[in-house]
């Protein structure tokens, strides 16, 4: 096949890897984008939520303000959903003769990478915001002037997810499949 000649892969493992359809890579990328982001959001929410519930028994006033921590964690899942929807619009069909063209492979890999970037950036962002949210709830229960200061740390933490989304969107803009000639 012309694709194999162009790429010039010699070992059988490399050839096997190149023979994986770019559709597979794209689909896995989209799955990782939403799946791992939601994992990060859920992880963060349970870390914050358990501390918040326990601390609110002695200090019920903290519940309404500290829901912001939960909302920051939730935002991470929303980023994952948005990027997954954007990525799935980038997934186009190409004729079977062109499926192993370098352009096709590039598009497949771009969607895959974008999904991984967004997924794992949101995973660690969700974890980070969750742990800080737990500390925020416990400190707020003791001393209410600490809440706003710790919230600033959370805002910096949630920026990590945003970086991932930005780079992921830029990567996905690279995903141009070969035009049907």
């Amino acid at each position: 096949m012309s694709g194999a000649i162009v790429i010039g892969a010699s070992g059988s493992w490399a050839r096997a890897l190149l023979k994986i359809s770019p559709y597979t890579f794209s689909a896995i990328g989209i799955a990782v984008a939403i799946g791992v982001s939601v994992l990060g959001a859920a992880w963060g929410i349970y870390i914050t939520g358990s501390s918040l519930i326990g601390a609110a028994i002695k200090a019920p006033r903290i519940t309404s303000k500290n829901l912001i921590s939960v909302i920051f964690c939730e935002a991470v899942a929303i980023y994952g959903v948005i990027v997954a929807i954007i990525l799935q619009t980038k997934l186009e069909s190409v004729p079977s003769s062109q499926i192993y063209e370098p352009e096709s492979l590039r598009a497949g890999y771009a969607i895959f990478a974008s999904g991984i970037i967004v997924g794992f950036a949101n995973l660690v962002c969700g974890l980070c915001v969750g742990i800080i949210g737990s500390s925020c709830a416990l400190s707020d229960a003791q001393n209410s002037s600490l809440f706003v200061k710790i919230l600033v740390i959370e805002i910096f933490g949630s920026a990590l997810g945003l970086f991932g989304v930005i780079v992921g969107i830029i990567m996905s803009a690279q995903a141009t499949w070969p035009s049907k000639v």
């Binding site: 992880w43 870390i47 358990s50 501390s51 918040l52 002695k58 737990s134 229960a141 003791q142």
Partner: protein, 379 residues
């Protein structure tokens, strides 16, 4: 692995940690203690305490209050909080919480054995037991029955001629039976293997039994915390090492001038802590307080404690140790996601109950000038 507890601790321990931190915010502060120290009668104390978290526990007490009632109600509050946490906890936190109370269990067992040897009333002994260290009723009654059977033998021996030798034998036999039959079901069973070999049991040896049991308990607790790993191991090692060192110093000071040999003294020291092993070697040969002081001043963490005392004075040593312990316990709250906060909270509560007992006693006996001798402020 130390550093990554934050990712998984909250699955099982997040809710309880938040609860224990909430309880910590209810500990009495210096302002509360100042108010309490200025009370004239026990009813004033009750009134001040009703504004704190102890309110609901003390409000139903009838007016001629005794200090023992105040202490009992405050201890009841601690026991309620402990039981609430214990029933919510999963492994390994539940085992950890149970380990915290084994010290009280040891005290209760020694109390019952000593009390029965001196023919005290069953009910009176039960009331004096610390509620945190209670066994279930079956085990308690077995202990009483075994000790009472020994008493029957004693009474029988009174009418025979060779009273003393048979009586000691009867006591020893029955104590060994006691350990073998009854206490093997309790959590204290593994600690008794070092005591079973002891032959006679007069009052002095009861204290050695208590200290040997406590040494076995501390070492077991230390090993358990090491097995838990992570932040819990680090923080609990520090707290337990301080406890072991403090007990070593107290054992040394209390056994100066008694017939406890140096080897026996060394056997009562725990095998961990800052003083292990070289400090123990030096402490074992100390014959008076100034020598103890000389040994302890070589260790930088303990130097400020001993420099606060003037030469030859040991009454303030207890308070100095309590202050150092409270400082370390408060520091353990600075870190999140470990079990040390539970241990620290129980110890801080016990210190608060000791403070309240001292203040109540001073007020009841009209000795308010001595109130600040023994009150350790927590915050």
């Amino acid at each position: 692995m130390y550093g990554f507890e934050a990712m998984t601790f909250n699955i099982h321990g997040g809710y309880l940690e938040a609860i224990v931190r909430g309880h910590r915010s209810g500990l009495l502060t210096a302002a509360d203690y100042n108010n309490l120290c200025q009370c004239e009668t026990l009813d004033d104390i009750k009134m001040h305490l009703s504004a704190t978290e102890y309110g609901s526990y003390l409000q139903n007490e009838p007016s001629p209050l005794h200090t023992t009632t105040i202490v009992e109600k405050c201890t009841l509050k601690l026991v309620d909080e402990y039981k609430h946490m214990l029933c919510q906890a999963t492994e390994p936190l539940s085992t950890f919480l149970e380990y915290i109370t084994y010290g009280h269990m040891i005290d209760n067992v020694v109390l019952i054995v000593t009390g029965t040897l001196h023919e005290r009333d069953v009910q009176e002994l039960l009331e004096k037991c610390h509620p945190l260290g209670m066994f279930d009723r079956q085990v308690l009654f077995k202990i009483f029955l075994t000790a009472a059977a020994k008493l029957q033998m004693l009474i029988w021996c009174y009418f025979s001629s060779c009273f003393f030798s048979i009586a000691t034998l009867a006591v020893a036999q029955n104590m060994r039976e006691l350990y073998r039959l009854v206490l093997v079901d309790t959590p204290l069973a593994p600690y008794f293997s070092e005591c079973i070999t002891s032959e006679d049991l007069d009052d002095m040896n009861i204290e050695i039994m208590r200290n040997t049991l406590y040494k076995a308990y501390l070492e077991d607790f230390y090993r358990f915390c090491q097995k838990l790993g992570g932040a819990t191991a680090e923080i609990m090692s520090d707290l337990l090492a301080f406890e072991a060192d403090r007990r070593a110093v107290n054992i040394t000071i209390n056994s100066i001038g008694t017939e406890l040999t140096r080897d026996d003294r060394r056997k009562l020291y725990s095998s961990f802590g800052l003083l292990y092993p070289y400090g123990h070697e030096e402490l074992a040969v100390c014959e008076d307080i100034d020598q103890v002081r000389g040994v302890m001043e070589k260790y930088p963490p303990y130097q400020p404690i001993f420099s606060k005392l003037s030469y030859g004075e040991s009454q303030m040593l207890d308070k100095a140790f309590y202050e150092e312990e409270v400082k370390r316990l408060c520091l353990s709250f600075e870190q999140q996601f470990h079990y040390g906060v539970f241990f620290a909270y129980m110890r801080l509560r016990e210190q608060e109950i000791r403070n309240l007992m001292w203040i109540s006693e001073c007020v009841a006996q009209n000795q308010k000038s001595r109130v600040h001798d023994s009150v350790v402020f927590i915050f």
